[in-house]
């Protein structure tokens, strides 16, 4: 096909469940390309000599090659190309912020709409899963070395995959009763079906990765004990951990949740199926979610599916500054979530039963950009408003859980509490102990966590040689 013909093809929209219907169920919102749409979209790729899209990918997927393979109908080849550098493609195809990565640097982005790389990645991985195209991966020749991985989020799973393929014995220690980290307890079913995470975990288990669940490293066993117990190196990937609160009056009232708690109750503990499942969640008629990131969008859209009358997103800057993926903001609005931007809560007050009954907010305006480069919100005096709410979900970010730092001598942290690691190898300030994911980078993304897991696995292979 000629370039000018390729340029004529419109970007294919990924089919989605109808907003009204989906606001009542936890089924996945995006439905994915079929073969025809996938090939059609892949044909839009200009197969650039210098594929700048690949510069935007944190795990350097050979995007050019896999898209060419899709145009040729070689979906198995495409799946192998992706799997060569990305061990969790069905997950990344769903949750990566492509608009600020590969699809941002795609040359077509400058002229209009970039190639839908994310949707194609997702199509190829789902096709792979359905037909078992890349099954039959085998672990490397046994090296006789054992590696301990702490935490089973994307960083831990990725490292475990690379290490087992290199022939090491791998044990993943996880505090929860189910592996997956944020992929299981945080990101909701309608955005990332849990079956996909479970499939990836069982692939690893089939390769020989051991999962030691219900094991809180630092309490059940220490990192140093693991290193004495026959593990030659450790990779720490416990995530960010502790939910932040705003420290304003009334934040401990009944009905006020952290996003972590709200989402864990619904996703991991399946509170949306209470009382069939034992864990309840309280969702009233008027729900306010505080924050503007992916977590806030997930919490708001999760709340919406529990049947309230109104769900608000309260964010102190404007929509432009929201850190959430554009697609999620768009989905949230489509489903009927009301955005109150340039607004911040200053107090919660109880109803006669002693539960949260209303929140007082103040309006904000934007001034000069702060250290993060975003314009700083400042309160407008006298602009207070009171909003009736009976459920509040605070989604303003997370702080580091310092359990591992406190129980492992020699680990150093930076000012923000993140573990200090070598940029190239992910090694901490203690030889043989590596770290990656949110613990090392602060709150980031699934793909960044995976990139660090992969880098650490490589360095660990060298270290234990």
């Amino acid at each position: 096909m000629e370039v000018k013909d390729r340029l004529k093809i419109q970007r294919h929209k990924i089919p989605e469940r109808d907003p009204v219907q989906r606001a009542e169920c936890f089924e996945e919102v995006a439905l994915g390309f079929d073969e025809k749409l996938a090939v059609g979209e892949a044909q839009r790729c200009l197969q650039c000599k210098k594929p700048v899209c690949m510069d935007g990918c944190p795990v350097a997927i050979d995007i050019l090659k896999f898209i060419r393979q899709v145009t040729e109908g070689d979906f198995a080849g495409a799946a192998r190309t992706i799997r060569a550098t990305n061990s969790l493609p069905a997950i990344c195809g769903r949750v990566c912020p492509q608009e600020s990565q590969c699809e941002k640097t795609c040359v077509l982005a400058k002229k209009g709409l970039p190639v839908a790389v994310g949707a194609l990645e997702r199509f190829v991985s789902d096709y792979d899963q359905r037909y078992g195209l890349t099954d039959g991966m085998t672990p490397g020749l046994p090296t006789g070395k054992n590696i301990a991985v702490v935490g089973s989020g994307p960083a831990g799973l990725t490292a475990a995959g690379h290490l087992v393929l290199a022939g090491h014995g791998v044990t993943v220690f996880e505090a929860f009763h189910e592996p997956g980290g944020v992929l299981i307890y945080g990101i909701p079913e309608f955005r990332l079906p849990k079956i996909i995470v479970r499939q990836e975990v069982s692939k690893l288990a089939n390769l020989g990765v051991e999962f030691a669940l219900n094991t809180l490293v630092g309490r059940t066993i220490s990192v140093d004990e693991l290193l004495k117990d026959g593990y030659s190196a450790a990779f720490l990937a416990p995530g960010a951990g502790v939910p932040a609160f705003m420290d304003i009056p009334g934040e401990n009232l009944c009905g006020v949740y952290s996003a972590n708690e709200f989402l864990t109750r619904v996703n991991l503990m399946k509170a949306f199926r209470f009382p069939e499942h034992d864990t309840p969640v309280y969702c009233g008629k008027h729900v306010a979610v505080i924050g503007g990131g992916n977590t806030a969008m997930d919490a708001a859209r999760t709340a919406l599916r529990l049947g309230p009358e109104k769900v608000y997103i309260i964010y102190r800057r404007s929509e432009l500054e929201m850190p959430a993926r554009r697609e999620e903001i768009h989905h949230a609005k489509e489903e009927g979530i009301q955005f109150m931007t340039l607004t911040a809560p200053i107090a919660y007050r109880p109803n006669p039963r002693g539960w949260v009954g209303e929140m007082e907010c103040i309006r904000m305006e934007l001034s000069e950009p702060d250290a993060s480069g975003r314009r700083r919100p400042v309160p407008i005096e006298g602009s207070n408003v009171v909003i009736p709410v009976d459920t509040v979900v605070v989604a303003i970010g997370a702080k580091i859980n310092n359990l591992l730092v406190h129980t492992t001598p020699g680990l150093q942290t930076d000012r923000r509490g993140n573990l200090i690691v070598d940029k190239a190898t992910q090694m901490t300030t203690r030889p043989g102990i590596y770290a990656g994911g949110d613990i090392a980078s602060g709150e980031a993304t699934v793909i960044a966590a995976m990139g660090q897991g992969r880098a650490a696995a490589k360095a660990i292979c060298e270290y234990v040689k």
Binding site: A175, F176, H177, L213, N214, T215, L216, R219, T220, I221, G241, V242, P243, F245, D247, E251, N252, L253, C254, G255, Y257, S258, N260, E261, T264, R265, M269, K270, F274, P275, E276, H277, D278, T279, P280, Y282, G354, N401, L403
Partner: protein, 286 residues
């Protein structure tokens, strides 16, 4: 999955479980707890570690049947396994040479003060234990408590065990008559812990209580267990569960603990219906 080495019924609806859990036993200290989940689809609930046997590699849990999960636990027998047990969690009790220590235990809280008493005996302490239950039938571990205490007082609501009255009465008397007490530790139902706190406050006796808020993960990840201590928010699962009683905002704590009361009733009800249906179904099969 940890296996139950021994299950006993200590009192009506109060069960004793000794679990094979070598890693937990090897790391646990008095004051810490575990989070358990009995079955797929079950809730995660915190339970205080009531005893530790590092030789056998076991921990003991004493569980009062109070809701669906604890009732399900009650159905398990010696040899059964518990699906999920995570621990040890939380900060250990502070143990040292305190002098005269009064330990107050109500109901299943007696198990917790028993373990603490054993630890305190290894230091220079004179231990006064005061234990109570509604009736003699419900009183647990009286003999064990006698063995680890220098003085033991027993109270019950109806006078069937020890003398009639509340667990705080002997302490009240001691303080009123000027008996010197260096430290008080109370574990039991919330109203009891609160009453002890109010009692000792005017005397300025350092008082520790063990709080048991609703928890999910037990590792500091969700903040569901937050409690107000001296005006600051703390996470009971990592900063506690033991706190200075005089700093606890009990009003807030009680409110938060009741957040799911309605749901719990519903859950227990569905559970009973399901059990009844199971029984009916198996009867029909026979």
């Amino acid at each position: 999955m940890p296996q139950i080495i021994e299950k006993k019924i200590l009192a009506p609806r109060t069960n004793y479980f000794r679990l094979a859990a070598p890693l937990i036993a090897g790391h646990a200290q008095p004051g810490q707890f575990v989070v358990i989940r009995v079955e797929e689809g079950g809730e995660r609930i915190p339970i205080t570690i009531a005893d530790i046997d590092t030789g056998e590699g076991s921990i003991t849990l004493i569980i009062q049947e109070a809701g669906k999960t604890t009732e399900r636990m009650g159905l398990l027998r010696t040899g059964d396994e518990i699906r999920d047990v995570l621990g040890p969690l939380g900060m250990p009790s502070e143990v040292g040479d305190f002098g005269t220590v009064a330990l107050l235990g109500g109901g299943f809280g007696i198990a917790a003060i028993h373990l603490l008493a054993k630890a305190l005996r290894k230091h220079k302490n004179y231990i006064i234990s005061i234990i109570a239950a509604r009736t003699k039938e419900l009183l647990i571990m009286e003999d064990e408590m006698r063995r680890v205490s220098d003085e033991l007082r027993v109270k019950s609501d109806d006078g069937s065990a020890g003398t009639k009255g509340l667990v705080i009465e002997p302490l009240d008397e001691m303080l009123k008559t000027g008996r010197h007490i260096d430290r008080v530790m109370a574990v039991g139902p919330i109203p009891m812990m609160r009453a002890v706190s109010e009692l000792t406050r005017p005397y300025g006796v350092k008082t520790i209580v063990s709080l048991n808020p609703v928890m999910v993960d037990g590792t500091g990840m969700c903040g569901g267990c937050r409690v107000e201590i001296g005006g600051d928010t703390k996470f009971a699962c990592v900063d506690g569960p033991e706190f200075d009683a005089h700093l606890v905002n009990f009003d807030e704590f009680i409110k938060r603990n009741q957040m799911y009361k309605e749901y719990e009733k519903l859950s227990a009800e569905t559970c009973r219906l399901a059990t009844a249906a199971d029984a009916l179904a198996s009867a029909q099969v026979k």
